[in-house]
Symmetry: C2
Subunit: 438 residues, 2 copies
C-alpha cells in the first residue's frame, strides 16, 4: 500500500521499554495524540503523544525546539491546550511531526536525553477533550445496527429506503462531550409508557451505551466548497473511541419527526487518545458492499475507496457492575466486532457532509454511529443485545441486565492487528452511571 | 408588570434625533447589541448598541471607562469581538449596562459629548455573527407549522402524538450560521423523485426559507444541573431574527429516521441585532393553550409563564426577485404573523433542554422553528404557502413562485407594538440565493 512509510516498519523499536511490549496499545508505530496534564495539579493542559506507558509532553518538548520545518510548526501547534491548531495544518505537517517523533523515540536516537526529560507517566495524567469541538455530527454507518433498531421501532419496515443511498447523519451536542473517566447522573426524561394516556417524567429506565468511533476533522473546507472523494481523507486527522450514551425510552417518545435530542445530549464520552489516520494505514481493507446492494452514487465512489477505504479496527465493550467491582470480578465482555462492517467509509462521510457546501472546521467531530456487526453477538448496544429488553443478559456474579443500572461502568476498547504489522491500540473509553441527582 | 423599569418609559427621548422617529426600530427603549466594524476596513470587530440610525461603539466607549460597578464590567465584556463574555454575566449585569446606556443617551445626558465621539453610522458598518455559537438547537414551536408540514409528509397523521407534550427540537449546525446580507449558492443534494428507481444528485429544486426567531442563551448551566421554570428566563439574553434555509427535496429523502441534516446545514442567517429580553418586557402576553389541549406537564409550567411567558413579536417575510430589483419593484410581503402563536415559550425551551442535565453555554443559540400562524396567510415558509408547490404564488411583475429561484432575496422583519409602549424593532435579516457553483 502506497501510504506505508518508515514510521510503520514492524522492525522499529523504542528506547522506552514499555513501548516494545507485544500487548501495548502504544508502540512506536502508533504515536497517538491527547491533551493532558499531571493529575491533581492546576498545570495548563497541553498536547501529548503516547509511547508505551508514557506521554511525551509536547509543550515541554516544543520549548526545546528540537525539530525544523513542518515538524517544528506542527509541534508548536500541538503544544497548545487543544489540538485544533495541529488539526488545521493538514496531512503534510501531521506526517512530518510523526516522522520526527518516531525518529526521536527510536533505539539509538540522538535526542533520547532531550525527550526523556519530557516524559510523564500515563498513570500520573488526567486528560481533557482533545479539541474544541465546534460541531459534532453523528452518523449511522452500521446497516446491522440500523436494521436491528429499525425492527424494534418500525417492525413493518426495519431498514428505510434511503439507507443504502444516503449516509444518514444528524447533528449532535458538543457541550456535553467529555473524556474517558466521566461519570454522569442517570438523566431525567419525559417518557410515554405503552398504553398510557399521558407521558411521565422521571429517571430514564432504559439507559444504554453505544459503541462508536469518533473521527476528528482536519483543515476543513470553506462554505460552499464541497470536498470530493479524492480530497476527503486529507480532512481526517484521526480516530478515537466514542460512547454515545442513550436513553431509549426518551428516544422512542421524542424522536419523531426531527430525530434524537434529549435522549442523546446529556453525555458523550471519548477516549483520550486520537490515533492518526496515518497510523491506521496498515489496517485498511477493501470497502465491499453485500451482493445485490446498490453501488454508491458516483459522488461517493472512487477506486481508492473501493480498494482500501474501510478500516479493520477491532472493537469490544466491557461492562462491570458495582457488585462486580465490590466482589473483585473482572469486567465482562459483552460484544466483539470490527469497524470493517461499516456501510460507509470515513471518506464518504466527509464528502457527503460537504456536498451541499456545508463547511467543516478543524476539530469538528464525527461519530460513526453504533458499530454493530452482522450477528447479534456483535451488536454495539444493549437495546440490540437484549432485543429491546426482552432477552436479559446474565453477568458474572449472577446479575441480569436489560439496560444499565446505577453503578455500571462501560469500557470501550479498540485495537488493530494485521499480518506484517505491529498491533496498535486506541486505548479505552470508560464511563460510569451514577444515580439521578435532583 | 413587575419587570418594567425606567428604561422602558415611553416618555424617554434621546439626544440622537433619529432615535425619536416614530418608525425607527431602535428608539432609546430598545438598545439591542451587535458585533460590528466599519465596512471595508480591517478594524477588529467589537460590540455595539443600536440607537436610531447610529451605533454606539462599545470598545471606544469602554476605553473611556464611563460607568462603574456591574455596568462597567458588562461594558468591558461587550467591547470584545463576540458577546459571549457579556452573555455569561447574567441579568443583573445586563440590566445595569442597559440602564447606564439609557441614561447616557437620554436628553440632557451629561455624557453626551463622550458618547457622541463613539458613534458610527449603521449605514457605514458591517456586522458579524454576534457570538461564538457553541451549540445551535432548532425547535419546532409552531403547532400550525408542524400541522401544515405534517399534512404533506404524513397525510394520515399530520400532528404526531408527542407534539403537545414535548417541545420538539434537534441540534443544528453552528459552522454555517452567518449574518444578514449573506448570499449562498443553491446547494447540491441527493434527492429521490416520486416513482424513480434510484436517487439523483443535483442542485436542490425546492429551496425554501423558514421564518424563525433566534434566542441567545446567557450564563448557562453546569452539566447535570437542570434549569427550572423559575430560573429559565434568567438564561435568555435576547432574541434576533433567524432564517433556517431548507432544501425540501433533500429533506424529504434524508430525514428518516434521524431528522434533517444536509437539508438545513448549508446556511442559516441571523439578523445582526440581538434585542434583549429586558427590552421585550412591555410586549409579553399570556401563554394560552387552545381549549381541549393538555396543560404543560408540571416541569414546564409556572404561574409566571402562564401570565406572561409568551411574546407578541410581529413578524413579516418579504421576497424580491432579481427581476423585481431590476425593474425597481419593492419587495413583496408574503407573510405577516406573530410569535405569540408559538406553542412553547422561551422559558419552556430552556427548561426542557436542560431537564436531562444537558449543559447550555453562554452564546448558545436556539431557533424557535418556523413561526407559522393559524391561517395559511400567516405561514412562515413557501412549502406551506404554496401547499407543497401545488399552489404557486404570483409576484408583483407577474412572476410566479413555488420555491425560491436564483437571485431571490428574502427579508425577515420583526417588531413589537403595544398600548402604552414605544414601538421597538428587531431590524432585518436578509439573504440572497445565488446559482449553484461547482
Amino acid at each position: 500500500m502506497a501510504h506505508l512509510n518508515e514510521t510503520h516498519a514492524p522492525s522499529l523499536r523504542s528506547w522506552i521499554d514499555s513501548a516494545n511490549a507485544h500487548d501495548t496499545d502504544f508502540p512506536i508505530q502508533n504515536l497517538p495524540f491527547a491533551v493532558f496534564r499531571r493529575d491533581g495539579t492546576d498545570e495548563p493542559f497541553r498536547g501529548g503523544v503516547a509511547i508505551g506507558d508514557q506521554i511525551v509532553d509536547l509543550a515541554a518538548l516544543a520549548a526545546e525546539r528540537p525539530f525544523t520545518g513542518d515538524a517544528s510548526v506542527a509541534l508548536q501547534a500541538a503544544a497548545s491546550d487543544s489540538l485544533n491548531g495541529l488539526m488545521a495544518l493538514g496531512p503534510t505537517a501531521w506526517s512530518a511531526l510523526r516522522l520526527a517523533l518516531s525518529k526521536a523515540l527510536r533505539m539509538q536516537s540522538a535526542s533520547r536525553g532531550l525527550v526523556e526529560a519530557c516524559l510523564v507517566p500515563q498513570a500520573a495524567a488526567e486528560f481533557a477533550v482533545p479539541a474544541r469541538i465546534g460541531d459534532y455530527t453523528d452518523f449511522y454507518t452500521s446497516v446491522h445496527h440500523a436494521t436491528n433498531i429499525g425492527r424494534q421501532f418500525r417492525p413493518d419496515q426495519p431498514l428505510l429506503p434511503n439507507y443504502k443511498w444516503v449516509p444518514i447523519g444528524y447533528h449532535g451536542r458538543s457541550s456535553s462531550i467529555g473524556v474517558s473517566g466521566l461519570s454522569f447522573p442517570r438523566p431525567i426524561g419525559q417518557m410515554m409508557r405503552p398504553g398510557a394516556p399521558s407521558p411521565v417524567v422521571g429517571p430514564c429506565e432504559r439507559l444504554d451505551y453505544e459503541l462508536e468511533l469518533g473521527i476528528f476533522i482536519g483543515p476543513g473546507n470553506a462554505t460552499g466548497r464541497p470536498v470530493s472523494m479524492d480530497e476527503a481523507e486529507s480532512q481526517v486527522f484521526g480516530l478515537c473511541l466514542l460512547n454515545d450514551w442513550s436513553s431509549r425510552d426518551v428516544q422512542g417518545w421524542e424522536y419523531q419527526p426531527l430525530g434524537p435530542f434529549l435522549s442523546k445530549n446529556f453525555a458523550t464520552t471519548l477516549s483520550p487518545w486520537i490515533v492518526t489516520f496515518e497510523a491506521l494505514a496498515p489496517f485498511r481493507v477493501p470497502f465491499v458492499r453485500p451482493a445485490g446492494d446498490p453501488d454508491p452514487l458516483p459522488y461517493l465512489d472512487s477506486p481508492a475507496n473501493r480498494a482500501e477505504g474501510a478500516l479493520d479496527i477491532r472493537l469490544e465493550v466491557d461492562l462491570q457492575s458495582r457488585l462486580m467491582r465490590e466482589r473483585g470480578l473482572s469486567p465482562q465482555c459483552l460484544t466483539s466486532t470490527s469497524y470493517r462492517h461499516a456501510y460507509w467509509t470515513p471518506a464518504q462521510l466527509v464528502t457527503h457532509h460537504t456536498m451541499n457546501g456545508c463547511n467543516l472546521r478543524p476539530g469538528d467531530l464525527f461519530g460513526s454511529g453504533t458499530l454493530s456487526g452482522p450477528t447479534l453477538q456483535e451488536a454495539g448496544a444493549l437495546i440490540e443485545l437484549t432485543v429491546g429488553g426482552q432477552q436479559p443478559l446474565t453477568l458474572a456474579g449472577g446479575e441480569s441486565r436489560t439496560y444499565l443500572v446505577d453503578g455500571d461502568s462501560v469500557t470501550l476498547r479498540g485495537w488493530c492487528e494485521a499480518p506484517g504489522a505491529v498491533r496498535i491500540g486506541l486505548g479505552a473509553c470508560i464511563g460510569t452511571v451514577l444515580p439521578t441527582t435532583s
